[in-house]
Point group: none
């Protein structure tokens, strides 16, 4: 993924705005300088601006947020993100594109040679904008990992040719993303046993970031860092599991991985067993939770109040965090350790490397940028697109919302999104993102739309990735054409997530637990602006849970949901249909065996399918609304 390489993650901003800083680089500077301190720099508010405007300056402006500052590093409308935390970068600091915060943090760290106190967790905290201040040790480690170093400093203006190159790369990266659902692709490919070998190997997002660079990357800087260092941030994500297979990064593609699903057919045979296993291996939330039934551990709360669900929530949150950003190998490892016995993290190239390349952040590439690659780094991968800026007028929004195109797309569009959202504005001007897949319904008001989305996408990225992993392990899935694999995932991921996270909705208590760990009563969420979608989700969860299915049955059901021949855009309908039939047969057999006297249970389960479709659609509408309002 992460293309890391590129070093930086990029985001598209728009170009037009009136805002202040004109021009790419933000001249904000000047302005400020002119004005001098008192004023602020790019203040737009100031009178000053006007003049600019009058001048007919481009006004680039980056809407973005936070950084809004002039100090945003922007090239041709593309905003570079901090390799450490993903915030908007203010420039190339210590050899890496970084935000003011990480720059200052790193400076203080090296200047004073501070020894931060030990990480309270696994020393593999994922570093994101919102949590970057929670663990200094890990933040510093991340800085080093992405290649920050006093030795990498580059002074003076950027050489033209480099700028040019960077620009081109970014552009193409964006284009790729726009054009192909890279992410899904990458995800799939990454693993896919066969064909895939393609490209860049592993990993990552095919789209753009291209791995290769990685090497080159090295040169620059970071190399110094540890081997692991994978290029960029990206790595972080990958970590995912794959218990067994550890892939060797670079070189050999996927030795190990081979085993997975082997054939489809075979698969069907032992379908049940393998599916269940796949489910367990790819559903961390579940694992951590201890039991699939959510209620189990959470403390019950009387309706109407939110409560912090200590463990569970925290754990989940943490997990998400880890999986996401950490690029470092260990991170990955770490992620594993929980569910695996493997000795992991021994080292970047450690023997363990999981086969899944996507994760291979390990490569040393050291300084992404150094090599010139502009890629968006962070984008960790598959779903990175989420973070990519898009040209949509609405502002930043998952690029894929577009790729669909017309009608047909609609379906795809809607479904393509990973998490289940429900962005809403409460009565007042306070905004909420009422999706339990978000860490919390509250949105940092100081964030730009982009920032909000980015943060949000971070929260559900791991879950989406798990779904992809799960799919890949469904016997027969990888025998489908890549196109169809992608189509099915685009269309069905949301539904799978709804099933997997149905437990977040506690019908009895009338509460919803967010991934951040906090429980909110339905009333509270309604007060914040939740509408019927919430009700429908609750209803679905109730209907599903009421059936009392076992994990095995549930995983098979999930499979049936995902492998639906009637999804739009399927090329080889017959294959998908055949596969689904097989899966259904198994499901039916399993259910009739386990629930002898509840003859209607299988039928009832099938009736959840249309319900899921409806949810999927309502969800799409929510997303659309978000986009529009944004």
């Amino acid at each position: 993924m992460e293309s890391t390489k590129a070093g930086g993650v990029i985001a598209y901003i728009s170009s037009s705005s009136p805002e202040s800083c004109h021009s790419d680089s933000n001249d904000c500077y000047n302005s400020s300088s002119l004005t001098h301190n008192s004023s602020h720099s790019c203040r737009q508010g100031n009178v000053v601006d006007t003049p600019l405007t009058m001048l007919g300056l481009p006004l680039a402006h980056t809407t973005s947020k936070t950084s809004a500052k002039c100090s945003i590093t922007k090239i041709n409308g593309l905003v570079l993100l901090c390799k450490v935390c993903g915030d908007i970068a203010s420039g190339f600091h210590y050899g890496v594109h970084a935000c003011e915060g990480c720059k200052g943090f790193f400076r203080r760290s090296i200047q004073q040679n501070i020894q931060y106190k030990k990480c309270l967790k696994n020393e593999s905290c994922a570093i994101m904008r919102i949590n970057r201040n929670r663990c200094q040790q890990c933040r510093f480690k991340k800085c080093l990992l992405v290649g920050m170093s006093k030795d990498s400093v580059r002074f003076g203006r950027i050489p033209k040719r480099e700028k040019q190159r960077m620009l081109l790369e970014m552009q193409s990266a964006v284009n790729n993303m726009m054009n192909n659902n890279s992410q899904l692709h990458s995800q799939l490919h990454g693993n896919t046993p066969l064909p895939l070998a393609n490209q860049p190997q592993v990993p990552a997002c095919p789209g753009e970031p291209r791995p290769q660079d990685v090497d080159s990357g090295l040169g620059s800087a970071s190399s110094s860092t540890s081997p692991t260092a994978s290029p960029g941030s990206n790595q972080s994500e990958e970590p995912k599991h794959h218990p067994e297979s550890a892939v060797a990064m670079d070189t050999s593609p996927s030795p190990i991985s081979a085993s997975p699903s082997s054939g489809s057919d075979r698969g069907s045979e032992d379908g049940i067993g393998s599916v269940t296993r796949a489910h367990q291996e790819t559903f961390m939330y579940n694992q951590k939770q201890g039991s699939p039934s959510p209620q189990s551990d959470a403390q019950q709360t009387s309706p109407g109040e939110e409560q912090h669900v200590s463990d569970t929530g925290k754990r989940i949150e943490e997990r998400n965090r880890n999986q996401q950003n950490d690029l470092s190998p260990f991170t990955a490892t770490q992620a594993h350790d929980q569910a695996q016995e493997r000795p992991t993290n021994t080292g970047p190239q450690g023997p363990d490397r999981h086969h899944c390349q996507e994760n291979d952040t390990t490569t040393p590439s050291h300084c992404p940028y150094s090599r010139g690659t502009p890629t968006p780094t962070q984008n960790q991968c598959p779903y990175s697109r989420d973070r990519l800026p898009n040209s949509s007028p609405s502002g930043y929004f998952p690029a894929y919302t577009h790729h669909g195109g017309n009608n047909s797309t609609s379906q795809a569009t809607s479904n393509s999104h990973g998490g289940f959202t429900g962005p809403l504005w409460s009565g007042g001007n306070r905004m909420h993102l009422l999706c339990p897949m978000n860490t919390s319904p509250h949105v940092n008001p100081h964030k730009s739309g982009h920032g909000i989305w980015e943060e949000f996408s971070h929260s559900f990225t791991p879950a989406v990735r798990e779904v992809v992993e799960f799919a890949k392990q469904i016997p027969g899935f990888s025998d489908l054409s890549q196109h169809d694999q992608v189509s099915l995932l685009k269309a069905g991921t949301f539904e799978v997530l709804v099933i997997r996270f149905a437990s977040l909705f506690d019908v009895k208590d009338r509460t919803v637990t967010f991934l951040g760990g906090t429980k909110y009563s339905v009333e509270t969420l309604r007060a914040m602006g939740a509408g019927d979608f919430l009700t429908s989700m609750m209803d679905f969860s109730e209907n599903l849970m009421r059936l009392g299915l076992s994990e095995e049955e549930m995983s098979l059901f999930t499979t049936v949901v995902l492998i639906s021949a009637d999804r739009s855009g399927i090329e080889n309908v017959n294959s998908v249909e055949a596969l689904q039939e097989t899966l259904i047969r198994h499901l039916k057999g399993l259910i009739t065996k386990n629930h002898t006297n509840e003859s209607a249970i299988f039928t009832k389960l099938l009736l959840r399918l249309p319900e899921l479709r409806s949810l999927n659609n309502m969800h799409s509408e929510q997303l659309l609304a978000f986009k529009v309002h944004h």
Copy 2:
């Protein structure tokens, strides 16, 4: 987005000079200095402050004592108040302007993950400075509600532009206040429980940020609201249970369907028979066609060319015309004579009139919608709304698209439409309305949008009316509440039509027969602009027809489609669910009886349900697109 704005409540302090400028922050100093001990805090003690003081600023009232400290967050003389309790805020803590007390309280709460003991009242205590310590549970809840979160922390100095913005907003807020107290009034009344101890207090600023949002949501509301506090939300839920009770609408329950509870049951008994009969009686197209299988009579056409289907088409067309616009009794009558024996509709008030008025499409004007409405014609009734013009800028479009409003609506919106459309513009400037329920894909270019829609609606109105008629005859349907009957029809009519008219799509020949009687090849339609929706419709038709169901089975299936408990907005979910279960049982029985060696057929049929949902949604999108483009 975030307007977030200030987010805090503000209080006006001094007015004076803008100057204060620098003031922003702490000028608290001055005040403090004046007031009391110079204590430290304001360490830096900038000299600057002094000036302010010297200016003789009013120092507002900083009511609370507390405030005395320098830690008051003040901007340009405006003091920000704590969003939680209304005390003077000391800063922006955990994403919200809060006082030291609430900041500390929140910190302890999350750090130690404290579970406070249950509120002794309604869990909706109003949190104010003076009573904030009385109920921890409610205080914490309020903290969360206003958005306090670890994820929202903001470090470092406030970005200038943001400060600027905040200032402006506050200023305007103040102005608003000044100008019309009315607002204040209302605001206060609305929220403030009492007199409001201290002014600025909670109630917030009318101006904009108003905290009330919050309150309204809960807080304030809380106070005012009922104990349960649940604003509207709950309701939805309640309904749930009560399976049996089918409420009799007005007076006389149901003449015909009489036996209520049994209703469903009984219905089930003879369900099959009556449903089939109902189907035949209410599906004219079918009758005329001679046989359900379309291909039968139509002359096959080689793909690519359209051809006029003489008889059939004409007849249908004619019939449609009649039924449509005329709401007049005879129209209706006329329609009947052909296929029915029933005396029914002899007149509006015919003996048969089902008690359910909404359905009375039969009645002449009765149509609820018709009255008063200038509507274009037909409003035949239940679905008339479709035709109601709406104020939307897009021109005429089914009014219902609006009535829904937000999210929730979406579902309804989408489904509510009766015919299946696919309005598209072909490549050129020629417009087409590619819906087989239209008489022809061609649109009279000289017609206005309104005219086009009107004409189109004419074509499918009768079919919609028939669906309503059919529904009324489903055993148990009329025992449902009127609300639910309407909801089910709004949501399911399109799906029923898709099933009924699946025969218009000839998969083998790859042609689509429009109600006008002309057949068009898929290629032709594509050339005219049809997209994936067409493909999906073809696929569905194929999947459905392939099952080779009898008319009896098909009618029962239609029933199952219509009576779906998971449709949004259903009040008495249990009743609907019970009814659907009964119907499904019959359907299953029937199918297993008729197709002994095709065990999977029932399952396959159920898999059409999600497919129908998807079509329904795609259709909604088409409609929306039509509306937007219009």
